[in-house]
Amino acid sequence: MHEPRDSGELLKAAADDDQRAWDMLESRYGPRMWATARACGLSEADAADAVQGAWLRLLEHLHTIRDPSGIGAWLATTTRREAMLILRKERPGVPLPEIVPGDPDPAAAVLEADISRRLWNAVSGLHEPCRTLLRLVATDCGNRQVAGRLGVPVGSVGPTRSRCLERLRTLIHQQETVQ
């Protein structure tokens, strides 16, 4: 039997009572949705709520998504919106992103698996201390631990990290221009 692989096909199958199609959507987009919620600064418990909320919103719109092929972007944007709603309860004034089905959210798009892999590969092309620093922060080392490994003052880790991320952004941009 033909296995639907395209996201649009999976969404249509899920809307047509196919639990396996739903599970495949979850496998495909769940990690990115989690990363989106965590990127908004949510704790694990709140991020779990944001991700669950986005899946429940999809249930509500299962038959009305205008562009099924854009379901990945829709889920990421919806996760971000739910995350912002949770944050707004704690910090009033946090702006909410508009949800436009099929219109990629630039922030969430960074979390596409391909882009993440390119970012990760690009880290290898950075000079020290950026290469080590970004590898350490990607593995959730705190500032004190990073400072210890790099032999620099704790207070310098934040500003150095910002500079390294800017260099990474420039490197990615240069690679895109060459391609």
Partner: protein
């Protein structure tokens, strides 16, 4: 502008750190069982008395409307559990009932003549109410997050 947190999240994603927890993945898959075929979705509306506000006693008022029905829900969070006191107006008809749902627990209640219903002891998190009407499509409120 993409902020640093998104770049760091992308790096963590690629590095395999901060992976999606298994229980979050399982909850997402289980959510599929919560769909209500043919349901009309009731959307949030402004309450005249209080616009989705939480009062000092932890009570939150929310209103949803669709298909000519208005759902008024008074949600109280206490002792780590949720109590819901609701009313549907106008009464959706003889034989109607409601399901007060969370992802982990559904409580079914008959409606009083006034359209009132109540459910207690629900786990905090996502909540929705579905009104089943004989001979008509069910009406389901949007999911709303209720936390202390």
């Amino acid at each position: 502008m993409i902020n640093e947190e998104y770049f760091l999240a992308a790096l963590r994603l690629a590095a395999g750190h901060d992976p999606l927890p298994e229980h979050v993945s399982a909850a997402a898959r289980d959510a599929y069982g919560l769909r209500v075929p043919q349901a009309v979705t009731a959307v949030p509306a402004e309450c005249p008395a209080s616009r989705e506000v939480r009062s000092a006693d932890g009570c939150k008022m929310v209103r949803f409307v669709a298909a000519g029905l208005t759902f008024d829900l008074e949600v109280t969070v206490g002792d780590g559990l949720i109590d819901v006191a609701g009313q549907i107006v106008p009464h959706p008809g003889e034989g109607s009932h409601v399901d007060v749902r969370t992802p982990h627990l559904t409580l079914t209640r008959r409606l009083a003549r006034t359209g009132h219903f109540a459910a207690t002891g629900l786990p905090p998190g996502w909540l929705s109410v579905v009104c089943h009407r004989p001979g008509q499509p069910p009406v389901q409120t949007r999911w709303v997050r209720i936390r202390p």
